[in-house]
């Protein structure tokens, strides 16, 4: 039997509503209706109270969907229900769409101690935005960023999608320059993935090809590094010290609560996923999918996740935890990756380079 782990100190809350559904999105989401949201918040509160036994949380992240699609009353109700858990919180993030983050909501964020906002910019080209059914323009983004700062919320992340249809390399560079002009603390760039049951899938829009995605990441990385951002995870860059504490919980293979429709969590040795059926969830019938994480699974997760960041995998820790000397069992493979510039083997750490981050799946399989 494995020793009991500490209670999670990270909490994710899922708000599944959106004013409109984006063409590429496959997250658990539905069209916002006032009455749906009322019911949802009741069920959410019940789960929150039952599930989250640790009130000394370090990080909270409210994502979606679009948390800011709630009306002001509901939005405040949400923040209020989280309030008891946010007393000691170091990082408290809310995801927002530029068009729905009104001044009144910004003031609510400030009031309840939210200190980080993540904005789905996706593209800075208004025509592209329109073509993927986004309802905002780049000038909305500029306004929101200004409003946030004016109200004392200074930790801002901007999200960008790479490889949207009809976006040229030149437009991508333009996107990066526009983003940089806003001086965010943190930038995420995700290569487009096309999932089933999305408009993109139905319209047979293809994902960017491998070479395009690689070149895009390379260009982005060069531009961002030059401007003082550090590539600390496959798709994430930040000013040093401003990395997302909450997201690092995932990549450090640590425990976290997940609350809400379709939310995932990791408590003790169980990784779980809540029901994605809205009607079931709001009638308190949350059918949870559970994965029991054995020590071997945990070891695999550790390898898979820790090599995603520039902080790397601590080989000594790994050995102490799982009894496996990874370097000893895979000397040739590791040395080969080091020689070819994919990994750095420094002191007790195995750290991926940019090139390494780009082919992590392969590295992971080779380290089995």
């Amino acid at each position: 039997m494995r020793t009991k782990t500490n209670l999670p100190s990270a909490l994710y809350i899922h708000i599944p509503f959106c004013e409109s559904i984006c063409d590429y999105c496959d997250f658990t989401k539905l069209q916002y209706f006032h009455s749906f949201a009322v019911k949802y918040l009741v069920a959410l509160k019940k789960e929150l109270i039952e599930r989250v036994t640790n009130k000394e949380l370090r990080t909270i992240y409210i994502g979606g969907g679009t948390p800011t699609s709630l009306d002001d009353l509901q939005f405040e109700a949400l923040l209020k229900m989280v309030e008891p858990y946010s007393k000691h919180v170091e990082e408290y993030t809310v995801e927002a769409n530029p068009e729905s983050l009104s001044l009144s909501k910004i003031k609510l964020l400030k009031k309840y101690g939210v200190n980080r906002v993540s904005i789905g910019v996706e593209s800075t080209n208004d025509q592209i935005l329109k073509s993927i059914n986004r309802k905002h323009t780049f000038s909305d983004v500029k306004n929101v960023v200004k409003n946030l700062r004016d109200n004392g919320i200074n930790n801002i992340n901007l999200d960008l999608i790479i490889g949207l249809p009809n976006v040229s390399f030149k437009m991508l560079e333009e996107d990066i320059r526009n983003i940089l002009s806003l001086k965010p603390n943190h930038i995420s760039c995700y290569s487009l993935t096309v999932h089933e049951h999305t408009v993109f899938y139905i319209n047979k829009i293809s994902e960017p090809d491998e070479e395009f995605a690689y070149q895009a990441y390379k260009v982005i990385n060069e531009l961002l590094e030059k401007n003082g951002y550090s590539h600390y995870e496959v798709s994430n860059w930040a000013i040093s010290g401003q990395e997302s504490k909450h997201n690092l919980v995932y990549w450090n293979n640590e425990r976290y609560y997940g609350v809400g429709l379709g939310a995932s969590g990791y408590i003790d040795n169980i990784r779980y996923k809540n029901s994605t059926n809205f009607n079931e969830y709001v009638s308190f019938k949350n059918e949870i999918e559970e994965e029991i994480v054995t020590l071997k699974d945990e070891k695999d997760y550790e390898l898979m996740l820790k090599l995603r960041t520039k902080f790397g995998l601590n080989l000594v820790e790994y050995k102490n935890k799982f009894g496996v000397d990874l370097y000893k069992s895979h000397t040739q493979v590791i040395d080969d990756y080091v020689t070819k510039g994919y990994l750095i083997h420094k002191e007790d750490y195995l750290i991926p380079t940019f090139e390494g981050m780009m082919i992590l799946d392969k590295i992971y399989l080779d380290l089995q």
Partner: protein, 604 residues
């Protein structure tokens, strides 16, 4: 059970694949009370999982049933099941020799097929009475009268007595059983003559030694009898006798006309040859039964464990399988690329497939198979003939005078509108035209001699696709003929991989080479470096493609919910990786070795 030859009927069922043989056998078993409906698994006689899953019969199987007829007498039925696939024709002839009659099953919607025809002729050659049965008459598309006409016209036997049944619903099975009593003759061997029993199958049992399935043709045998196997000239004392119904029932004696099993503490299955005659040691028969022709494997391939630590396990498994499968041959071989393994001989591709699956499933060994090859007769300049079953062993061309390859005689039955495309295909496959005849007003039979290597290669698939699946075909070995053949090597990352070598027809070498390397390209996982794949003849590169280096292979988004999903995906890839063999610095999956086989030149 009182035994009297008069009340015995020994018969087989002959049918084309999918015409309902096993289902019919099940119905017969059910109606004769051999098994209660409760115990009934679908398709009892196909006892291997693999047989049931694929709906094929691989091994023959015998079962004794009792049936009380409308005439008030109780009859003993011995039903000897036969495989339907061309690879196992040999087994069919073994079963037939143990019977007096055969039930010929014809699908009321499909009519007579080439394979059925081949087996019916085998039965007629064995002087068996043929009882035609029209199956699947419950289907709306059934045309029983047409099917009967087919039997008369195609096979040339009367279909007047044909019974119309539905094995699926059980309709008219009783009538069929009555027809078996009436139409199939009772055995009529001399009960008082010296023992003469035909060995039609055997298998190894770790407790009792070899269990022999026999049909007593003359005389009788008792427990304690001193017996002799006439061909192998070995003698034993009988320790156990019985019948299978299908559970074993032990008996003290097996009498003339009976089908049953015999044990005599026989340790080595190689001493028990199907077709051999069991006789009395003290009072032997003067002449053995005719027996069977020897079977020779036609298709060979290299079998290697993915993990070289599994070599011994593979050896043990092959030994165990060959105990019950005399047609499986294997000898150790080594490959530079794959290490230690075995060169194995099979009756055909299905047989090869079945053995591979059994090794992986029942013995849990991950395998690499090289592409199958035939045996080439290589005549050297010094006059010697060297049989070559492994392309990489082909001597240097300067030492070769000529190469001969085995041909088969293929009978292809097809609706007449496909004759053109088939002839084109046979031409492309280097076929020698022999004959073309009308089978009926809509179908024709084409007879060609074809190189076996082309059959092994992709003839089946091509035939299916150019006739929309309407053609059926069977073949028998014919003779060796000289051919313009050369060895083609494949280089991965600059290194020759011996396991990827093949012997090809020179005028087709370039297209074949291009096809092979393109196919390999699609299955080789990309590495951090570019991998050239080249086809070469006599050291000269004739074609090249490159596997591009991997640039980006990572999930961009990996947050809460993505984590488990991602791991599951990676687990799947891990499984695939387990089945890869590292050749030099390149990981090569199983499919690469088979790519020599399944390529389609036109794809390129």
């Amino acid at each position: 059970m009182n035994f009297d030859q008069k009340y015995t009927r020994n018969f087989s069922i002959i049918a084309h694949i999918d015409h309902g043989k096993s289902t019919l056998a099940d119905r017969i078993l059910e109606l004769t009370g051999a098994v209660s409906t409760r115990e009934m698994k679908d398709q009892i006689l196909d006892s291997m999982d693999l047989e049931r899953e694929r709906g094929i019969t691989i091994k023959l199987n015998a079962v004794t049933l009792s049936y009380t007829s409308d005439d008030g007498n109780t009859y003993i039925f011995n039903l000897i099941d036969t495989p339907g696939h061309v690879d196992f024709t040999y087994e069919v002839s073994r079963s037939l020799a143990a019977c007096e009659g055969a039930v010929l099953v014809v699908d009321a919607t499909q009519g007579v097929e080439a394979q059925t025809l081949a087996n019916v002729y085998l039965a007629i050659d064995n002087d068996l009475a043929i009882l035609p049965v029209i199956n699947k008459i419950d289907l709306p598309s059934a045309m029983p009268e047409w099917a009967k006409e087919e039997i008369e016209k195609r096979i040339g036997i009367s279909s007047e007595e044909a019974v119309e049944v539905s094995a699926k619903t059980g309709f008219h099975i009783h009538e069929l059983l009555e027809a078996i009593v009436k139409e199939i003759p009772a055995p009529n061997g001399d009960e008082n003559a010296p023992l003469k029993a035909l060995i039609f199958d055997s298998y190894y049992d770790s407790y009792r030694g070899v269990v022999i399935l026999i049909r007593i043709k003359e005389g009788s045998v008792k427990i304690g009898d001193h017996i002799k196997l006439m061909q192998s000239n070995k003698d034993y004392v009988v320790t156990e006798l019985g019948i299978r119904s299908p559970d074993e029932i032990k008996l003290k004696e097996l009498k003339c006309g009976q089908v049953g099993y015999l044990c005599a503490q026989i340790k080595d299955i190689r001493d028990v040859r199907p077709g051999d005659t069991v006789t009395s040691f003290d009072n032997p028969a003067s002449k053995a039964l005719p027996g069977y022709r020897d079977i020779n494997p036609m298709v060979f391939c290299g079998l290697y464990p993915v993990d070289s630590d599994d070599y011994q396990d593979l050896k043990d498994a092959l030994e165990k399988l060959s105990l019950n499968d005399a047609s499986l041959q294997f000898v150790p071989e080594t490959s530079q690329a794959l290490g230690f393994g075995f060169r194995c001989g099979f009756l055909g591709l299905l047989h090869m497939d079945v053995i591979q699956e059994r090794l992986e499933r029942e013995y849990n060994i991950d395998l690499i198979l090289t592409a199958p090859s035939v045996i080439y007769h290589v005549y050297l300049t010094n006059g010697e003939m060297m049989p070559i079953d492994n392309p990489s062993k082909l001597p240097d061309s300067s030492k070769i005078n000529r190469i001969e390859e085995p041909y088969v005689k293929a009978n292809i039955m097809t609706p007449k509108e496909y004759v053109g495309p088939i002839m084109e295909l046979c031409q492309e496959k280097r076929g020698i035209y022999l004959d073309l005849q009308y089978f009926d007003d809509t179908r024709m039979i084409l007879v060609y001699e074809l190189p076996l290597s082309e059959i092994v290669y992709n003839f089946f698939d091509k035939l299916k696709s150019c006739t929309k699946g309407y053609a059926s075909f069977d073949y028998e070995p014919s003779i060796y003929r000289p051919s313009d053949l050369i060895k083609m090597d494949v280089l991965l990352n600059g290194q020759v991989v011996d396991a990827l070598s093949s012997i090809v027809y020179r005028p087709q070498a370039y297209n074949r080479g291009l096809g092979i390397i393109h196919r390999i390209k699609t299955v080789i996982p990309r590495q951090q470096f570019e991998i050239p794949i080249q086809a070469a003849i006599g050291g000269k590169i004739i074609a090249r493609v490159d596997v591009k280096a991997v640039r980006k292979d990572v999930l961009a988004k990996c947050y809460g919910g993505d984590i488990s999903r991602k791991k599951k995906l990676l687990e799947k890839q891990k499984e695939g990786k387990k089945r890869m063999k590292k050749v030099g610095s390149v990981e090569v999956p199983q499919e690469a070795f088979m790519s020599i086989l399944s390529i389609d030149e036109e794809e390129n």
